[in-house]
């Protein structure tokens, strides 16, 4: 005869009661398993997608995503032929390398960015501030232009003018011919030695230019464009290192200053 059967009825009932009650509860909640697992999976998938889209929950805008992407993975400038406001053609990418060769100085990769600006040992240009614009723009390009003008002034004031160059590239090569760019530069007070206005030598290169800088250009139906903008920083080796928000040219300046 099993021992449990010999136990007082009270105890026996209590001994069975807990597991039975747990089992009953589990039975009653069994329907929850599938939905709650599914809910967890959904939340997991949403978090994963959100993390990818927002670059680890750091940004909510495309410009912010580009800033983080460039910070993580600097990339080479595209090989594009530009023409400046004096009608002279030049290459966007190897321009820095060519400048250095002309200066007769050995390439010093360590002096490429930040450290180079800080050392003061080399007078060769170590960085280029690039903005994209079109001269008939009445919106964002005015902000970028005034930002570049502010940077020109600050670079001059801080003795960095010789080592940091500025470049404004027009993405409207049809209208922004060299004479138009020259006028534009004069209006902005651009000092040609340090701040060049340029546009594409071949209009067909436009998609490559826009893709390289992740600029979206949509006709606004009034002869202008809806587009985004930023300040870009490229080093002497033609690497695109950083992008800065339009309202933060000061951050770019801070990165150029000796640390």
């Amino acid at each position: 005869m099993p021992r449990s059967a010999a136990a007082p009825p009270m105890l026996a009932r209590q001994g069975r009661a807990l597991p039975t009650r747990c089992a009953a509860l589990a039975q009653r909640l069994r329907w929850l398993w599938a939905p709650s697992t599914l809910a967890l999976l959904l939340v997991g998938a949403a978090l994963a997608l959100g993390a990818v889209l927002t670059r680890g929950f750091r940004v909510v805008t495309s410009d912010g995503a580009r800033r983080v992407d460039l910070e993580r993975n600097p990339r080479p400038l595209p090989a594009l032929e530009l023409v400046d406001s004096l009608g002279r053609p030049f290459q966007l990418a190897p321009a820095r390398a060519a400048d250095r060769a002309a200066d007769g100085r050995a390439a010093d990769k360590a002096a490429a960015f930040g450290a180079g600006a800080a050392s003061g040992a080399s007078a060769a240009p170590v960085a280029t501030i690039i903005t994209l614009a079109y001269t008939s723009c009445t919106e964002i390009c005015r902000t970028t232009a005034s930002g570049q003008a502010y940077l020109q002034e600050e670079l001059r004031r801080r003795g960095l003018a010789g080592r940091v160059r500025q470049l404004t590239i027009s993405f409207d090569p049809q209208r922004d011919t060299p004479p138009v760019l020259l006028q534009y530069g004069r209006r902005l007070g651009a000092d040609y030695a340090g701040w060049r206005m340029a546009t594409l030598a071949r209009a067909a290169d436009l998609p490559r230019l826009l893709a390289a800088f992740e600029v979206v250009l949509l006709p606004d139906g009034l002869g202008g464009y809806v587009h985004n903008g930023a300040y870009f920083l490229a080093d002497a080796d033609g690497m695109l290192l950083r992008a800065y928000d339009l309202n933060r040219p000061d951050q770019l300046l801070a990165d150029l200053l000796p640390r």
């Binding site: 709650s36 939340v43 949403a46 909510v60 805008t61 495309s62 410009d63 339009l246």
Partner: protein, 185 residues
């Protein structure tokens, strides 16, 4: 509701909406306040046409999960980043349409069986999310979307606030105030 629709009706409306896409996508406000809700409404309409009277049987054990999925699907398109991608890349635009259609279908299927508590939770959190986003859009100092100028942000923000305000008011009337008036006991 006893209105019966031809099963192809939601599909026809979707084609019309697809044709209107260039116009809708051209404005941030129309994109967020008209296009996205219309897609969800079409999803709901399609679900209604597809399941007819079997809604309760389908949804009962999964109502909460379905609502959660709908909220997640809708929330993606609150990100300016996602709106940019949807305007620039055709395949993201298709994904957006599918996500909103699915969200609408899920909402319609799960709504009644979810019960008042879940409905209230969803309405209040969605309304709150929209109003917060609307205020943020209006106050944002910088351009949020690459494809929309910053002037459009104010209108889009106002539209989001108006949309969620109307939805919340209608829901409160339907779920809380009118039943209370009808049945004072």
């Amino acid at each position: 509701m006893k209105i019966s629709l031809h099963p192809l009706f939601p599909g026809l409306l979707l084609v019309l909406l697809a044709l209107a896409r260039p116009w809708l996508d051209a404005s941030m406000a129309l994109h967020m306040v008209l296009e996205l809700p219309l897609l969800a409404a079409l999803g709901a309409l399609a679900a209604r046409a597809a399941v007819a009277g079997r809604r309760a049987a389908i949804a009962r054990p999964y109502a909460a999960v379905m609502l959660l999925a709908a909220v997640l699907l809708i929330s993606i398109w609150m990100l300016p980043l996602a709106l940019d991608l949807a305007v620039v890349h055709a395949w993201v635009s298709v994904a957006k349409a599918l996500a909103m259609l699915l969200a609408g279908a899920l909402l319609w299927l799960a709504w009644r069986s979810a019960g008042l508590m879940l409905q209230a939770f969803l309405m209040l959190s969605w309304g709150w999310m929209n109003i917060t986003a609307g205020i943020l859009y209006q106050e944002a100092p910088a351009q949020l979307c690459s494809v929309y100028l910053s002037e459009q942000q104010w209108t889009a923000g106002a539209g989001l606030i108006a949309l969620s305000g109307c939805a919340l008011t209608l829901w409160l009337l339907d779920a809380m105030i009118l039943p209370a008036l009808r049945d004072p006991g």
